[in-house]
C-alpha cells in the first residue's frame, strides 16, 4: 500500500473479496443521498398543491417500490423481497398519511418537513429499542422516508449515473443493490460490510464484482476517477496505471478462458488420475440455488444452512414450513444426499429474539442455543427427520465444543424420532448424524467425537477464527486470518486422521475447501469430501481431475513441514502452477 507515496498516483486499497469478477471503469460516488429537508412556510392558497405534491410523491414511491419488489422477487426469490413489502405497507398507512396531511394543513408547513418530522418520530422510537430487529426496521422506515422526500423534491436519484460505473459507497442497502443492478453497474466498492453483508450476498447473486470493507473508499475516491476492482482478491486500485489495467484485463481473460475450459466437466466425477474419487458437493442456503448446483456438476449438498430461512423472514418458521423446504431439497437433490446443518444462529447472524452479548462469537450460538431451546430444536429436528424418507438426508450439528453436546444433540434426535413415531410419521430410522468441527476443542477431541457420529465436516471459517483468534470480518485484523497457517494445517490433518481412525468420513465445508490453492493439499491430507460454493465447483473439480493422489500426498507432507503461512502459500503456489498450469490463481 503506497498510501504515503505521493510520486505514484496509483493507490491500492485492500478490502474483502465479496463477489468474484474484475471491473474497470469510472467511479460513481454514491453518498446515501439523505435529502436535505428545510422547514418552509406554505401559503394558504398553495395548500392544495402542497397536499397534491405529497400524494403524487407517495404514488411514485409506491411505483418505484413495486418495481423493486417485482425485480427482487424475480432475481432473488420472494423471501428476500419481503423487506420491500413492508416498505410499501408503510406508504399505504392511512393513519400516518392522514396525520401528515392534517399537520400540513394546520401548521402550513411544507410536506417534506412534516413527513420527516412525523416518520422520524417512529424511527427514533425504533432506534431506542434494545432489539436488533427493531433497528433493522428503523432502516426500512428511514428508506421509505427518504424515498418520499426525494420524490417530493422531484429529484431523480440516478439521473447523474451516466454510462457504466463502479459504485463506491459507504454501504449499500438491499434496495440500492437491486436498483443499481438495473443500471449499468460494473461493480461495487464499499467502506463497510463483510463477506456476509447484504450487499455482498446480493452482488454475488446478481453476478456483479464487489469488494467490501475498504474503510476509506468513499473518502479517497471521487466521481469520475478511474478505478479497478478485483473481486477475486478483494483489492481496489485507484487511478490504475496502464500496466495494472493490462494485468487485470489479463486476469479477467484468464478466468474467462479457464471457465470456457470447464464446459462439459459438470457430468464428470471429481476423480484424480489415479482414481481417488472425492465427494465434491455444494454449500447452499436456499432451495432456489439447487438448479445452479446441478448445472455446476455438484454431487449433492455438503452444507445446507437451515438458518437462511429464518434470517430471511426474521422469525422461526413452523415445523410445517421447515418441513416443506427440507422435503423439496431432499427430493430435488435425490439420488444425491444433502447435509442439513441445524440452525446456526447467534454470532454474527441476527436472530429474531436476539440478545445482546459482549462477545457473541464466544457466546450463545449454534448447538449451544438449540440445546437450551428444546421446543425449537425438537420442532426443527422433526421437520428434518420427516424429510428423510428417501434416506438421502444427513443432519449436522454446528459449534460443537464438547462430547457432552454431541450426546445431548443425539439424544434430541432420538426424542424427535420417538415423537414422530407416536404421530405415525415416516422418517429414516438410520439417519446419519455428523458434527461440524469448527471449535479447536472439538478438533482436539475429534477421535472421541468420531467414535459417536457418522461423519465429521471441518468448518474452516470458524475453526481458523477461533484457532488464530482473528475475526476476518474485522478489516483491521483480517490479514491475520491465514488459512495456510501451519497451525491450521496441523489441526486439519489431526481431524482427518482422527476420523479415519474411527472409520468415519471427513469432509470440509469451509471456504478453504473452495480455494484452488488448497485443493491439492486437502486431497493429499486425505479429505473424503469437499463442499464448496457452487460458483467455484467446476474449477475445483478440474484440479482434482488433473492431479494424482500420490503427488497430492507428497505435496501435503511437504506443506506441513513449513514454519509460516507465507512459506506454505509460496510452496503451494509454485506446485499448483506446475501441476495445473492453466488455472488462474487468485494471486496478483
Amino acid at each position: 500500500m503506497n498510501e504515503r507515496n505521493s510520486v505514484i498516483e496509483e493507490t491500492v486499497l485492500k478490502g474483502i473479496a465479496a463477489a468474484p469478477g474484475i471491473a474497470i471503469g469510472p467511479a460513481y460516488l454514491y453518498n446515501k443521498e439523505v435529502p436535505r429537508v428545510e422547514m418552509k412556510d406554505v401559503a394558504r392558497e398553495d395548500l392544495e398543491a402542497e397536499i397534491k405534491r405529497l400524494r403524487n410523491a407517495n404514488a411514485r414511491s409506491e411505483k418505484e417500490l413495486q418495481k423493486i419488489l417485482t425485480f427482487a422477487e424475480q432475481r432473488l426469490g420472494s423471501q428476500s423481497a419481503r423487506i420491500f413489502e413492508a416498505q410499501i405497507m408503510i406508504l399505504n398507512d392511512a393513519v400516518l398519511m392522514d396525520a401528515v396531511e392534517k399537520r400540513i394543513a394546520s401548521e402550513l408547513k411544507n410536506a417534506e418537513y412534516i413527513i420527516a418530522d412525523e416518520i422520524g418520530k417512529y424511527r427514533r422510537r425504533m432506534l431506542e429499542s434494545p432489539d436488533e430487529y427493531m433497528h433493522e426496521r428503523a432502516h426500512d422506515v428511514e428508506d421509505v422516508m427518504n424515498r418520499i422526500i426525494r420524490n417530493i423534491q422531484e429529484q431523480r436519484l440516478f439521473s447523474r449515473l451516466e454510462g457504466e460505473s463502479i459504485i463506491v459507497s459507504e454501504t449499500l442497502t438491499p434496495a440500492d443493490t437491486v436498483i443499481f443492478s438495473r443500471n449499468q453497474v460494473l461493480g461495487y466498492a464499499t467502506d463497510l460490510g463483510g463477506v456476509s453483508s447484504h450487499a455482498a450476498l446480493l452482488s454475488r447473486s446478481l453476478k456483479i464484482p464487489a469488494v467490501v470493507g475498504l474503510r476509506t473508499a468513499t473518502k479517497r475516491l471521487k466521481t469520475g476517477e478511474m478505478v479497478a476492482i478485483d473481486g477475486y482478491a478483494g483489492v481496489v486500485t485507484m487511478n490504475p496505471t496502464e500496466e495494472t489495467i493490462e494485468r487485470l484485463r489479463g486476469r479477467a481473460r484468464a478466468f474467462r478462458e479457464f471457465e470456457e475450459k470447464l464446459v462439459g466437466i459438470a457430468g464428470l466425477p471429481a476423480e484424480t488420475i489415479d482414481h481417488r474419487t472425492i465427494e465434491l458437493s455444494s454449500n447452499i442456503e436456499f432451495e432456489d440455488e439447487i438448479p445452479f448446483t446441478r448445472a455446476q456438476g455438484s454431487a449433492g449438498i455438503g452444507l445446507f444452512r437451515t438458518e437462511g430461512q429464518l434470517l430471511r423472514r426474521g422469525e422461526y418458521p413452523s415445523e410445517e414450513e421447515q418441513y416443506r423446504v427440507y422435503k423439496n431439497v431432499a427430493e430435488s437433490i435425490f439420488p444425491h444426499a444433502v447435509i442439513f446443518r441445524t440452525f446456526d444462529v447467534g454470532g454474527d447472524k441476527l436472530i429474531p429474539d436476539a440478545i445482546r452479548e459482549e462477545n457473541p462469537f464466544l457466546g450463545w450460538r449454534g448447538i449451544r442455543m438449540m440445546l437450551d431451546r428444546p421446543e425449537l430444536f425438537l420442532e426443527h429436528l422433526r421437520a428434518l427427520l420427516r424429510s428423510s424418507t428417501h434416506k438421502n438426508v444427513r443432519i449436522m450439528f454446528p459449534m460443537i465444543s464438547s462430547l457432552h453436546e454431541v450426546r445431548a444433540a443425539k439424544e434430541f434426535v432420538r426424542k424427535a424420532q420417538e415423537e414422530l413415531k407416536l404421530r405415525g410419521e415416516l422418517f429414516d430410522p438410520k439417519i446419519k448424524v455428523g458434527v461440524m468441527i469448527e471449535v479447536p476443542s472439538a478438533a482436539l477431541l475429534a477421535e472421541e467425537i468420531a467414535a459417536e457420529v457418522d461423519f465429521l465436516s471441518i468448518g474452516t471459517n470458524d475453526l481458523i477464527q477461533y484457532l488464530l483468534a482473528v475475526d476476518r470480518d474485522n478489516s483491521y485484523v483480517a490479514p491475520l486470518f491465514q488459512q495456510f497457517n501451519p497451525a491450521v494445517l496441523r489441526v486439519i490433518k489431526m481431524v482427518i486422521d482422527a476420523g479415519h481412525k474411527k472409520h468415519v468420513w471427513v469432509g470440509m465445508c469451509g471456504e478453504m475447501a473452495g480455494d484452488p490453492l488448497a485443493t491439492m493439499l486437502l486431497v493429499g491430507l486425505g479429505l473424503d469430501e469437499l463442499s464448496v460454493v457452487p460458483s467455484v465447483l467446476p474449477e475445483i473439480k478440474k484440479i482434482i481431475r488433473t492431479i494424482r493422489l500420490k503427488d497430492a500426498r507428497r505435496v501435503a507432507e511437504r506443506a506441513l513441514s513449513f514454519p509460516t503461512a507465507d512459506d506454505v502459500k509460496k510452496y503451494l503456489t509454485s506446485v499448483v502452477k506446475e501441476k495445473v498450469p492453466d488455472i488462474p490463481l487468485e494471486l496478483s
Binding site: 400516518l96 422510537r125 429474539d353
Partner: protein, 87 residues
Amino acid sequence: MIERQVTIRNRSGLHTRPAATLVKAAARFQSEFTIIKDAMEINGKSIIGVMTLAAEQGSELRLRFEGPDEEQAAAAIVDLFERGFDE
C-alpha cells in the same frame, strides 16, 4: 368504550407479518382501535405505529375500542391475539 387485556402468544411477537394481519383486521371496523403498552399508546390501524411496539412473546397489551362496532371489533381482534395470529 371497551378495554381488553391480551398477551402476545406467537413466538416471534408482533413482528412485521402479524402486525400487518392486525392492521388489516382493524381496518374492517369503524371503531377506533388503540393499543397501549407500558406508557405507549399507538393507533392500532397504523402499520408504522404497530411496528414500533416491539411487543415480544409474553408481553401484555391493553386494547381499547371505541365506536359503533366496538363489540365486534374487540371480539375479532382479541380472537386474533388468542390464536397467535395463526402462526
